[in-house]
């Protein structure tokens, strides 16, 4: 067992657990988008940053990837952490404004403005779908491509993957828009409280970067032509 301090409280945690697991176990909430129990930690969304260390050596690390260390001083909601999370959420709002999850998170952190150029992406490239496909479904049907601002998600060469079993796990774990494709009747589908009244798969033209790899879509059982 490792003994460490979380927000001043002395706690013990099993060696090999992450700061996120330990903090949540002891009741300190930490927001995340890319973390999902059962998948390997990835550290893409950076929302789960916590402050560790003292004085000049204090730094922010992502709690989902950082392992517990003996004697570590962890602050899960210091002003530096909150400031960073606010800016991250502002960046998220600027990129994916229509996600209910992001809207709720931003609201809970009292983010009241968005000062960047507005974009309308769906995907935040958190990698949950990639990891669930590889780790839980052992399929590796989808993955990341390219780097930097051109990074995107998809099957190799954008062709229908031969290893995809149409399990739908990728859609199930998506944090940005969890309610997408959940209903069989398009006019009754409520997608994330956003402006879309129909599942995006029906309007493929207006959603070029749509994250749906199902063909036919088994979730809502609508065959696309």
């Amino acid at each position: 067992m490792v003994t460490l301090h979380i927000n001043g409280l002395e706690v013990s945690a099993e060696e090999g657990t992450t700061l996120l697991e330990a903090s949540r176990f002891y009741g300190f909430p930490i927001p995340t988008l890319c973390h999902l129990d059962g998948l390997s930690p990835y550290g893409a969304c950076r929302l789960c940053v916590v402050e560790i260390g003292q004085g000049a050596n204090a730094k922010l690390v992502t709690s989902c990837t950082y392992p517990v260390e003996e004697g570590l001083q962890v602050r899960t909601a210091s002003s530096r952490v909150v400031k960073a999370r606010k800016m991250i959420l502002e960046l998220f709002l600027a990129s994916c404004p229509q996600s209910k999850t992001i809207q709720d998170l931003a609201s809970s952190y009292d983010v009241r403005q968005q000062r960047f150029k507005q974009e309308h992406d769906d995907c935040i490239l958190c990698g949950r779908c990639v990891r669930v496909c590889e780790e839980q479904m052992a399929a590796k049907a989808i993955g990341f491509r390219s780097r930097g601002e051109k990074r995107s998600l998809g099957t190799p060469f954008d062709l229908k993957s031969e290893v995809c079993r149409l399990c739908g796990a990728c859609m199930y774990v998506c944090p940005a828009c969890q309610l997408r494709c959940t209903y069989t009747e398009p006019d009754k589908a409520i997608c994330g409280g956003c402006a879309n009244l129909s599942p995006p798969c029906l309007e493929k033209n207006s959603f070029d970067d749509m994250m749906c790899y199902m063909e036919p879509c088994v979730a809502c059982e609508i065959k696309k032509d």
């Binding site: 550290g43 998220f92 600027a94 930097g148």
Partner: protein
């Protein structure tokens, strides 16, 4: 090529090579690194060979084709030993004259290097200010050895350090010696090399350990590692063998970016020769020590210079950094302890083992010992690769070695450390070059890029350039790095186009701080440096763009207009130069620029001899 089975075999070979050498024979040394070949060194080599053969001089004059000597501005250059005569910018037409002159033991006065200020001809390389003010411990080898001939390297003391280490038979001593030398990682962060080696040596050796040479040099305007890899590949191989012996590693990987074809070619040859000679492989020189070394080519991602991303790349995965701890030295390549050092760090190892830690410490300053190679580029007279002792001031480098501004205006700043570094203004050129001082000044040592800028460089534009580079080269894993660099670029783009309000600066600073704080690897953590350092030292320029919609350097095209003042004598030079025919005017009368047609390229300003073109 014979295989050396014992240490005695090696010493006999070395003694024979040294005895066979006659230093009195004149040698033509042609610098043929990538820069030399690009400027025509291959033609010179061909002509020199033909001349030597046709004039039957092959016994009397030797020819040595080497890597880059460093003076890129003067390529292709020819150096003649033993007089050390230096001929810069040699044209194919002059090559036969040089051969004749060497045969007659004469000097061609008209081809010698001319001092740019005094116009005086300088005969030997060592008297040229560019070379005189350097300490060329590593680069000095480049002119001595032909990179594709291992005997050449051995003849000049190569692999001697390795043999010394092997015959001593004490790995602990190797680490102590490196620790005592105070060598710090030349990749930029400056981690003590000896300490890293000690940690690796302390790791349990159940399933093997790896050594990696990081040759993924991706900074714009930096080519230090390339020149060492091209010019002296054996020094890195030797350094890695010594490192393996000291730390107990049994496998090594040279990771070199595929954009360096010549470096890869030379390394492949060097590796083959070292294996053939028995300096790599199993039971090296009969000591029972084995070390295998192979080459892995990088696929061209800047981020793969980061050590955890580099490991992913070697493993065949996407080049994405992962969380440290665990550090690679604990759990690295294929989950085994892995030690990663920069090319230059490895090249320093044989030098330390040859001369001893104490003599290595004589160069440099407290806690920053030894020399550092920089690629000095930008608006200086002498661009090229320089090697200086640490602790030298920026001013000495820029004015002493670089020769000052190459343009019409004064030098304004120098950018160190590539896209992760910052801009240091001329007012702070008394700053010494060492890991700590540069960090305090808001920049970093980095791997050694040094870009000099003059008054005609817009600092907002510079920050924008680096942000453009980073937004494309970020791996994209961390949201804050991917989006943060992209958003910073957008804001900078707005500023340079005159679209930004004053609040943009606050947002820029806030965003830069968040990106610095919340990203995983060094790429993201240092990505805001170009913005933050220019904001710190050149805030006035930013404000000029925002409030007055003016670009003082005359770079940002949306904010400037060109006009012609009364200095114009109507010489028509600019009229003929303008590619869009925007300038009109009769001879001997003041010309006029049509603003609607003008594309603000600045060509007229460059050709005008009377300073008649104004930028506003």
């Amino acid at each position: 090529m014979e295989t050396l089975k014992t240490i005695d075999n090696f010493l006999t070979l070395q003694a024979r090579l040294v005895a066979d050498r006659d230093p009195g024979i004149p040698t033509l040394i042609i610098s043929a690194g990538t820069c030399g070949q690009a400027s025509g060194a291959n033609d010179l080599i061909r002509i020199a060979k033909r001349e030597l053969l046709s004039k039957k001089l092959t016994k009397k004059i030797h020819l040595r084709i080497t890597g880059c000597h460093g003076f890129c501005e003067m390529e292709p250059s020819v150096l003649v030993e033993p007089r050390r005569t230096f001929y810069p910018k040699v044209t194919p037409r002059d090559m036969d004259r040089i051969v004749d002159a060497v045969a007659a033991d004469a000097i061609l006065e008209d081809l010698l290097f001319a001092d740019p200020t005094t116009e005086k001809r300088i005969e030997t390389q060592d008297e040229i200010p560019f070379f005189k003010n350097q300490v060329r411990t590593l680069l000095g080898f480049n002119e001595k050895v032909d990179p594709i001939r291992i005997y050449n390297y051995i003849e000049h003391g190569g692999y001697q350090a390795m043999v010394r280490v092997l015959s001593k038979g004490n790995p602990g001593w190797v680490i102590e010696e490196i620790k005592a030398s105070g060598l710090r990682g030349r990749g930029g962060a400056g981690f003590p090399t000896g300490l890293k080696w000690e940690i690796l040596a302390g790791q349990p050796n159940g399933h093997g350990k790896f050594l990696v040479c990081n040759g993924d040099e991706g900074d714009p305007g930096a080519f230090m590692d390339r020149s060492v890899l091209e010019g002296n590949p054996h020094s890195i191989i030797e350094g890695m063998i010594i490192g393996a012996y000291g730390t107990g590693a049994n496998e090594g990987i040279l990771y070199v970016r595929n954009e360096y074809p010549l470096a890869i070619k030379h390394l492949v040859i060097a590796l083959r020769q070292a294996y053939q000679l028995g300096l790599l492989g199993s039971d090296i020189l009969g000591t029972g020590f084995s070390f295998d070394l192979r080459l892995v080519r990088g696929a061209g991602a800047f981020v793969c210079g980061e050590e955890t991303a580099l490991i992913k790349s070697i493993e065949g995965m996407m080049g994405e950094p992962v969380q440290r701890p665990p550090f690679p030295v604990q759990k690295g390549l294929y989950g085994k302890p892995t030690l990663i050092n920069n090319v230059e760090t490895w090249a320093n190892v044989p030098i330390i083992m040859n001369t001893g830690a104490q003599s290595f410490k004589k160069i440099g300053k407290e806690r920053n010992y030894g020399t550092k190679i920089f690629s000095l580029v930008g608006k200086v007279k002498n661009t090229g690769l320089i090697e200086v002792p640490m602790g030298i001031t920026l001013g000495e480098v820029v004015y002493g070695i670089g020769g000052g501004s190459s343009g019409k205006t004064e030098i304004k700043a120098v950018q160190t450390g590539g896209p992760s570094g910052g801009c240091i203004p001329a007012s702070r050129f008394d700053l010494t070059i060492d890991y700590e001082s540069l960090k305090v000044a808001g920049s970093i040592m980095g791997s050694g890029g040094m870009i000099v800028m003059d008054e005609r460089t817009c600092m907002v534009d510079v920050a924008k350039y680096f942000m453009n580079f980073l937004k494309e080269e970020s791996c994209g894993k961390c949201f804050t790095c991917r989006k943060g660099t992209q958003r910073m670029y957008e804001i900078l783009d707005d500023i340079t186009a005159g679209r930004a309000a004053r609040e943009a600066l606050d947002l820029l600073e806030e965003l830069a701080a968040t990106v610095k704080d919340t990203t995983l690897c060094a790429l993201g953590q240092t990505a805001p440096n170009p913005v933050l350092s220019t904001l710190l030292y050149f805030r006035r320029e930013y404000l000029n763009h925002i409030e007055h919609h003016r670009c003082p350097a005359g770079v940002c095209k949306s904010l400037i207009t060109y006009s012609i003042n009364e200095n114009c004598t109507g010489c028509q030079l600019c009229v003929r130069t303008c590619s869009v025919e925007a300038i009109t005017g009769e001879k001997k009368k003041v010309h006029l620029i049509d603003q609607a047609k003008c594309i603000r390229c600045g060509a007229c300003r460059d050709v005008c001899k009377l300073n008649a073109i104004d930028i506003r």
